[in-house]
Symmetry: C2
């Protein structure tokens, strides 16, 4: 499950209604886990995308939308250190949208193929309302190698794969936010927004090396660091100067705006991990074929837990309110 900031209050109110699973992780991490048989863990996540809330059909091609509906879920699986295996797809559409749904399925099929996932089932129903897509993704992991939100330990460093702010910068372009016009940079930022690449190799690779704490930054660095800090009962200090903001976002929107887009934007689908400093070099090598790994902060002890602070140039830096609010 990827839960936007608004959803947590509601989900927390719902969890008490449900019996907790007898084993594995229940509601609250990127994905749920359970063991179908000893030695294996199934990792499961589900995400719903609603037209007008999470996407606009005049801003995205249906094929990119299908790719992204898979990406959102694949990223949750990667953030658990797991490998994707099977997907189920439900789509509610208006009677005249059959052509659009074929295109959406092409994007789903392309990302399924690229990620080694089989789409094994689904439901296609009619709606009089917005186009709605729900993907459930099931993956596999080694029980000993799960990246959890509550695995950060004081002394760990905080590291991020790839860059931050590219997707939010692409969304800013779509929204018509004024910027220096540059077709190549625009194209790259729009691709970051429309066709993100979840870190399918990095997640399991970091887990194999000994990382125990990770989350995907679907809701921006500030918000996601807060989840790690609260779940792990630690504080996190982010060195904003060290964060690899997307170079095209910096070039087109300036450093200050790029920082906001990366820290408080969303949908980058990179991984934010906490791990011992001693593992960083090997981790960087292990994922080099897919992406980079950059240390952007550290995990410290905190009596109350959950605090995220930031510095820039040695001075306190105010993190904006976290969480991604779609367009």
């Amino acid at each position: 499950m990827t839960a936007g900031t608004d959803e947590f209050a509601l989900i927390n109110r719902l969890a008490w209604l449900l019996d907790p699973p007898t084993h594995g992780i229940g509601i609250g991490d990127d994905a749920a886990t359970w063991s179908p048989t000893p030695g294996t863990v199934t990792v499961a996540t589900t995400d719903m995308l609603v037209e007008g809330i999470h996407f606009r059909l005049d801003w995205t091609t249906p094929e990119d939308l299908g790719w992204k509906a898979m990406a959102v879920n694949l990223s949750d699986i990667a953030a658990m250190g797991a490998r994707p295996r099977h997907a189920l797809v439900s789509i509610a559409l208006k009677p005249d949208q059959a052509g659009i749904v074929i295109e959406i399925y092409k994007g789903i099929a392309a990302h399924a193929r690229a990620s080694g996932t089989f789409v094994v089932g689904g439901d296609t129903v009619r709606t009089d309302g917005p186009l709605t897509i729900n993907v459930t993704l099931l993956g596999e992991a080694d029980p000993a190698l799960i990246l959890r939100r509550d695995g950060a330990r004081p002394g760990d460093v905080l590291a991020i794969t790839g860059t931050a702010g590219g997707s939010a910068a692409g969304l800013a372009l779509l929204s018509g936010e004024p910027t220096d016009s540059d077709p190549d940079r625009s194209r790259r930022l729009l691709a970051m927004h429309h066709r993100p690449s979840p870190r399918l190799h990095a997640g399991p690779a970091l887990a194999s090396l000994g990382a125990r704490c990770g989350i995907d930054i679907s809701d921006g660095i500030a918000s996601e660091a807060g989840h790690l800090a609260r779940s792990s009962n630690v504080a996190i200090v982010i060195d904003v100067d060290a964060v690899p903001f997307h170079p095209d976002a910096v070039a087109m929107f300036g450093l200050e705006r790029a920082r906001t887009l990366g820290l408080n934007g969303g949908e980058d689908y990179e991984l934010l991990v906490a791990l011992p400093l001693s593992l960083v070099d090997r981790a960087r090598d292990a994922i080099a074929s897919e992406t980079t790994l950059t240390v952007i902060g550290r995990v410290v002890q905190d009596q109350h837990g959950g605090l995220v602070t930031a510095t820039s140039g040695g001075l306190p830096f105010t993190l904006g309110a976290g969480g991604y609010v779609a367009f």
Copy 2:
């Protein structure tokens, strides 16, 4: 997956876009199956319910709606001969519907508890459109004991659990269809519609006894028998006089209307199975604690496959167009 009649054309157009799974059953049965480890089969299904299409909030309580969203999926798992284990629930709601969603979750939790299912994850998102619920249900089965649509053999008898037409009769009452007023009968038929009991024991029990072909009658007997006949490449002959139409439906709407409700209505969530006649007595005993089993027809050879015919009083009986069209 439970696919309404309209959906098959679309799903069949989509399946070619997807890589077929390397093992197990893909798109097309009640649920998908795969083996996470040898000796185990995971059975997975997903169903989406849309306000205004599949339910009306002025006709159902939110708690009954939650119960039913689980029932639709639990029935697919039972129809595969499997046992439900884990569920993921996505709900799209308007900002002012949080109270309704709590009630929906109470119904989901009640049916989860009653069926031994753990709700392990979900997604709660905003919509400006109709309330939309998606449930994905995962179950377990013995690989050798799966009820498939393509398992009917000439010589088998066709049998149904419980009764037919009760849920559609409840829906007819909600629609204001004129009938003899009888509060007790009305209450029972409305309960059949709002709070169906999927055959969670009968499915695995029939599979254990040696049945190899089953489907749930979410879309009415005629339509579902058609799926079995086409998938198994056989013809099916239904003896309409033998079908156990719900007695309250017969009493309130008359035999002719009750027949239409049962044969062409839907949402009864009973099981339609094809099995050797020699197994029927033992099968009846095995499921007696949950429901009845009634032989209503037979499976015959057919050169072309897929034909479903019916007789009543020894004369041909015209089956109406199959498939359930919600209110």
